[in-house]
């Protein structure tokens, strides 16, 4: 009772209260902006150069794509350590199919995604139906698939790939209007995306207001969505002055939208949160918790395979070392994005922003010529700081 009262009777202004309750979400976005501005200044504007922004997306797309799947796995109360090895394995498999067997791209891509699904199913089966801790199952998977990629590549690098396969990663959306620069298609898509986001946000706010469930102050609403829309338009403008929109950016954006919708508005998303929050209660509410866990891993396997294809396409070669320690970046991104180790908490947008923070820091520090040694230290500290911030916030609330 005491706490219920505290929420109702707090004398502070509603804006301040709202901010303190949602500090984490705004904090994330703000942190990303601050980090970008910081590197923009210290790199003398290199960070936001069109070519660098393009690279930033190419370099981080596979991390972001895997973070989408990892979020679901972590929200359901598990972890997947094998994704880095799966990236390597699927890349190797694609290389063998494309280069040695000369199979066409349109066969290889679905086949590789299917392999990813099967890998996810194989691991998810033991986790979901045999209740073997996911840490162990996927640790085993990490070793197995690393070993298998070494084996099928015979320790060699295999490449190069046909152009249409490379387009998966390094391809750009062609300019429909034929003018070379700036790329009007990119600019137009950026405007459409920004407009859609604003429209959806306004519509949802209106609907929420109708039922009196909107608590975000209007100023915050404008500032947040305005910032996002401007950022999208600005970035698409930057990209348009270089080579236009990278294909991976489109893939990534569409996947992000799909998974954000899945987690937020569908029954399956709702059930995954309940499963991670309290598995026994979810089970006793008639939810098939085993199947959901299984599906979370299947999905993760598929996204890891997609990431493997994109990564191989970007390097234009498959190496046995591909994807080493990717799992750590992906998991770090999800936790920086506010997910809870114990499951049940975390958002898709958080995971994406978390991955962007990691990506921008990687990129910025590389431009500055900071050694890989310091980079690792700094990344580790950022992860720790983000989680400490979470815990601090939580303690303050109770």
């Amino acid at each position: 009772m005491a706490l219920t009262k505290s929420a109702a009777e707090t004398p502070r202004s509603s804006a301040a209260r709202y901010l303190s309750n949602h500090l984490r979400e705004y904090g994330m976005l703000l942190a990303l902006v601050v980090i970008m501005i910081f590197f923009q200044i210290v790199t003398d504007g290199t960070l936001m150069r069109p070519v660098n922004i393009t690279n930033l997306f190419l370099q981080n797309s596979y991390i972001i794509i895997m973070a989408l799947g990892m979020l679901l796995v972590i929200v359901s109360g598990h972890i997947d350590l094998s994704v880095g090895s799966v990236v390597g394995f699927v890349g190797a498999l694609a290389a063998i199919m494309l280069v040695h067997w000369q199979l066409p791209t349109f066969v290889v891509i679905p086949a590789c995604l299917l392999v990813g699904i099967l890998i996810g199913a194989a691991q998810g089966y033991w986790v979901a139906y045999w209740r073997i801790p996911s840490f162990i199952v996927t640790l085993a998977g990490m070793l197995v698939f690393r070993g298998l990629s070494l084996w099928i590549l015979q320790g060699q690098s295999v490449g190069p790939f046909p152009r249409n396969f490379q387009a998966l990663s390094t391809g750009f959306v062609p300019d429909l209007f034929g003018v070379d620069k700036p790329n009007l298609t990119a600019l137009l898509l950026g405007l459409v995306a920004a407009g859609t986001i604003l429209f959806m946000a306004a519509r949802s706010r209106k609907r929420h207001q109708k039922f009196g469930m909107e608590e975000e102050p209007f100023g915050f609403f404008i500032a947040r969505n305005g910032l996002i829309a401007l950022a999208i338009i600005y970035i698409s403008y930057l990209l348009s002055t270089y080579r236009g929109l990278p294909n991976v950016l489109i893939t990534m954006a569409i996947l992000t939208a799909i998974y954000a919708f899945l987690t937020k508005s569908t029954t399956i998303g709702r059930r995954i949160y309940a499963l991670g929050g309290n598995e026994k209660a979810a089970k006793l509410s008639g939810i098939n918790t085993e199947r959901l866990t299984f599906l979370a891993f299947v999905n993760m396997g598929m996204l890891a395979a997609l990431a493997g294809l994109i990564f191989a396409a970007r390097l234009n070669t498959a190496t046995p070392k591909a994807g080493v320690s990717f799992e750590l970046d992906v998991i770090a991104a999800v936790f920086i994005g506010g997910a809870s180790m114990s499951g049940g908490v975390g958002k898709i947008i958080g995971a994406v922003v978390g991955a962007c923070i990691m990506g921008v820091m990687n990129n910025g520090m590389s431009i500055l010529g900071i050694g890989i040694d310091y980079q690792q230290v700094i990344k580790g500290l950022v992860l720790l700081a983000a989680v400490i911030f979470d815990v601090y916030n939580k303690n303050k609330q109770t």
Binding site: K5, S6, T10, M213, T267, L284, G286, I287
Partner: protein
Amino acid sequence: MDAILEMRRISKRFPGVKALDEVNLSVERGEIHALVGENGAGKSTLMKILSGVYPHGDYDGEIVYESQPAAFRGIADSERAGIIIIHQELALVPLLSIAENLFLGNEIARRGVIDWPETFSRTEALLRKVGLKEPPTALVDTLGVGKQQLVEIAKALSKDVKLLILDEPTAALQERDADALLELLLELKEHGITSILISHKLNEIGRVADKITVLRDGMVVSTLDCHEREVSEEHIIRDMVGRDMAHRYPERVPRIGNTLLEVSNWNVTHPLHADRRVIRDASISVAAGEVVGIAGLMGSGRTEFAMSLFGRSYGRNISGSVKLNGREVDVSTVERAIGSGLAYVTEDRKALGLVLEENILRNITLANLGDVSKNGVVDDAAERQVAEDYRRTLGIRTPSIFQKVMNLSGGNQQKVVLSKWLFAGPQVLILDEPTRGIDVGAKFEIYGIINRLADQGKGVIMISSEMPELLGMCDRICVMREGAIVGDLPAAEANQERIMAMIVKGQEGRQWH
């Protein structure tokens, strides 16, 4: 008179709410002082201040302990002074032995090497004092809750306790274990140990307490001396809730219809030991508009029966038939059980009933998301409507349905669980200890909800360890003993003695069957 403890004008604020407002508490040496009040009245907060969980400076007012002003900065400080608190959730390490638990953090050791012979002999002495006949090497895991409670008290004794604080010590105990615990408190009192007892069970308080302090909304309402004059339970309840509660169980005129649920020859074996039968040929039936109670000791198989029935959530080799409205139904998974029209409100609200991190709205719709969604997409507006309806009809007290259920009181949490199951649209509800750990006022509301359900023609099976509750609420009471139903009495013929006789002597109970 010699006061061991004086808490003077204690106030404690949490952001936005005053949890304690100038509370005075005076405890005499060697007495058993009961502290009662509804959940959220401030009992636990007061005890946390006393034991140093909220350190000195975190509250206003002063504590005088053993005639000295006390300023505890943490539990270690208060324990050193001989104040020991035993929480409702026991703080024992399950996989360590009794001896290891007793001296945890306080080991009898020389230069870090434990002196086991000394540890064991001291453990034995302590266990004798609390009347527990278990070897010191027994793992705590293997003991029942009642015995674990005794281990906690032995642990307190090992620390030279002067003032023992017990927070709802009997909440999870069977009547027999609870009796033993209360006897022990009286015995400790003989040895000069002072106790503060927090409890919702007024009959227990009446038996052992010398004084009773009633808290309400962070203030002391009254301090009653049980030796000066007879203190009636009604009086205490009136002070606790601030209103007269002439009827502890709301009236209902039963309108019993056709038989809804019929379970026959239900057999279940233990999930790990295939040769142990947990439920033996149990049969039970509920009619529309009927409230059927299941009485029995903890471990008699009541919860196991309910859970095995509800989607085989417990046990193995389950056999028997389940009929709803005369038709055989499939209840082999939780989903199918819900689909057939069953609902099961679990005994353990927090561990099995709620997703604590999620808000009220999401908890309410969890078992029936299909009804607020289209093609797998949740309809926010419809969902909100449902949650608001239940908030209103069941009286869930909360500023908003977007509040996390973690932040609700026990009574309100239970209403959320009930809402979830009502929204699933069952014909028969199985309620397992629906009022455990809930204060008197909220209990009354839950009883009202149960009665309304019966009036709407639903069948209710109510499992409870509190016999007065069963007698006050049910139309018929079944008695369970060692996995078998040993008695089935109409409420009019039932009384506590008769039920107890069946529970302890199942054989004789059969005569009434």
